[in-house]
Symmetry: C2
Subunit: 473 residues, 2 copies
Amino acid sequence: MPLLGLLPRRAWAALLSQLLRPPCASCTGAVRCQSQVAEAVLTSQLKAHQEKPNFIIKIPKGTRDLSPQHMVVREKILDLVISCFKRHGAKGMDTPAFELKETLTEKYGEDSGLMYDLKDQGGELLSLRYDLTVPFARYLAMNKVKKMKRYHVGKVWRRESPSIVQGRYREFCQCDFDIAGQFDPMIPDAECLKIMCEILSGLQLGDFLIKMAWKDVRHEMVAKKGLAPEVADRIGDYVQCHGGVSLVEQMFQDPRLSQNKQALEGLEDLKLLFEYLNLFGIAEKISFDLSLARGLDYYTGVIYEAVLLQTPTQAGEEPLNVGSVAAGGRYDGLVGMFDPKGHKVPCVGLSIGVERIFYIVEQRMKTKGEKVRTTETQVFVATPQKNFLQERLKLITELWDAGIKAEMLYKNNPKLLTQLHYCESTGIPLVVIIGEQELKEGIIKIRSVASREEVAIKRENLVAEIQKRLSES
Amino acid sequence: MPLLGLLPRRAWAALLSQLLRPPCASCTGAVRCQSQVAEAVLTSQLKAHQEKPNFIIKIPKGTRDLSPQHMVVREKILDLVISCFKRHGAKGMDTPAFELKETLTEKYGEDSGLMYDLKDQGGELLSLRYDLTVPFARYLAMNKVKKMKRYHVGKVWRRESPSIVQGRYREFCQCDFDIAGQFDPMIPDAECLKIMCEILSGLQLGDFLIKMAWKDVRHEMVAKKGLAPEVADRIGDYVQCHGGVSLVEQMFQDPRLSQNKQALEGLEDLKLLFEYLNLFGIAEKISFDLSLARGLDYYTGVIYEAVLLQTPTQAGEEPLNVGSVAAGGRYDGLVGMFDPKGHKVPCVGLSIGVERIFYIVEQRMKTKGEKVRTTETQVFVATPQKNFLQERLKLITELWDAGIKAEMLYKNNPKLLTQLHYCESTGIPLVVIIGEQELKEGIIKIRSVASREEVAIKRENLVAEIQKRLSES
């Protein structure tokens, strides 16, 4: 077996024992050291093996590693989402992965999943963040920020029983956009809906609809306040119908609503919102649906949820469990809960459920048999001859230092075929070839992996020529 | 107070109570509902306030929020680091924030900080990851991957007593690059050192030096194997000297080394490494220093650490506590510890200590009084007149749909001065102005915030004109 480390522990120990021996050392002393060292090394090597037998290698329930293939898809999706957030003037920010437990308690409601609590950290009771909204509210209150438009991309953790097939995990990534501050009614709310539409159209997930409603009052009344269900269910009759402006108009006609001052206020707001959605060109994507009964405890006003509409399954494509891929709403009370004086900072925002979207996009790609490159390498440095490692190292240094993405094989004498095959299998477009001939003539061969054409260029023109070809492609 | 939500909870309740009342409802029935609802609303409103008095708002020890200003600096640094990793052909990947506790135990050694353990999760004992190296080794063994060049950027958690002033936190971000696989000696090791140099030069942190050594054998011998310290300390005499090839040559001359076969092997490797470092043009940045005594338990061969050289403190700049900003080394045994059969996958890698670098860069910027834009907004949509919200919404929609980063104020009738001031304070370069006049003539005014020049253009040319100006700037 070739030497891999700078030197195996055994050899270092020996080297060390040499250093330890004083120029005029007695032989016994040297032997003593050496045997001691050898022993030390031996035990340290055994240690690892003793652990083996009962070691089962796995990762925590409901979590997963993201392979390079996953990461490429993820990066594409996140880039699109983040660039949309930035297009709307949002600033980035981040918060710790865990918060004081008291910060998170009583914010989400009973029907929310479990939180990951940490063991007592020297008197601190901590939990992993459950979403990005409560930390944002905590941040606003703590820093007395009254106005902010920010986005936040990060992991959150929920101990729901994971059904991984649907792309549900206990650790997952959220992309949040929120507008905090006191503004004229419905303008920020409308922008949040616009952003949802831009992202869902941009991701090309097929047709979608955003269902809008208010925080589920019915559930609260029946489950929490003991209102007779048969009474509450009367709502059902009414809320079957859902739609856009038409529905709003219809409600205006209903004397039971129009004769009530506050009800009227609500309808005016609804009308205003749809007016803005019209100007944004997305009104037909939004359906006001009184039956929508979701939303975490902290929502106070409008809530919305984006659903993908079932597309006819394509050949070979397994039917996707299409559900909510984005949600959001208004939470005017949350920041006040963190403010000692209860000062409120009205907020509205949205959260993109990226895991679900990853799953859908990956399914699509699998069906279409799309291949993704997991590296961005532009040039491969190859040689057809032996003993050209030095030249390859010189060449690749030139490329790296010029900012060109380049790779080579970590072998002293690789076969040319192995090198070319590596380029084809990893999708590297260009190969730079150097050998006896080229070295003598002061030239370099550039090979296009796709067309297999080779051209010779002056060595000194290498970087310029490569950059030219890369800019053209 | 103006209406902020779609409708305050109070009003929804009233609206609902209207819906609940059947067309021919008895008055008492209506009253009953309404009072119930009112009560429900009242209690839900009180709840929040009861929590207040004893609520202290803070975040966990040793953690921090990243403000938009922080995030801009962080993004710049991470972009540079990641593009370097990609330039060297690395693939991206990610692992869960926590691992089974047994995965992490006995990998780091006694002198490592404490781990964050989670509370028992239904039989699972979990800990937050302590670095990105052990999860990577676990990933390789679990997926039987024998060869991989990957980078990983993510948070890790260590419960060291935080001295925040030096940019040390209990939650911090690591940027790792690793090469796994069996290759010809020293080539991957040399590339890791090359990458360190590229990143540290690229970040322009001033002059730096990479100190290279092998895993601290002395510590192991004295602390663990009970070798007499006075004997071990003899090493000290020798290892004072450190340098490059010169030192290696010097060691070759030392009969105590050259006469020992394994010691000679080690020296041959050292020589080879420095030969490659020469070809990479970084040999003078690397110092072989036998006194370097760092490195976690899993390191087996070469280890290295990058230190910034103290730069003369500039006027007003507080002296930076300059220390290690990057470290790495070879860990040929780690993957084997996760493999049931103990199959080894030799690895070498590096980790960039970004927090420390953030701190230094931020200090520099503070000293120079550099301002950072926290948004990327390119165009602001303004109006000098009242009742132009609709027109502004139409305009900004055009811009957004064309992919242009645009903002406006969420006000029905903002003052022009307020709007222009917003642009100056946030660094938005262009303003699009629409008013009576413009609307009548079918034109739009474009104003450069810097020069305050205004030009009128045909409204239908808006997007094209903006894109032209943005591409020019």
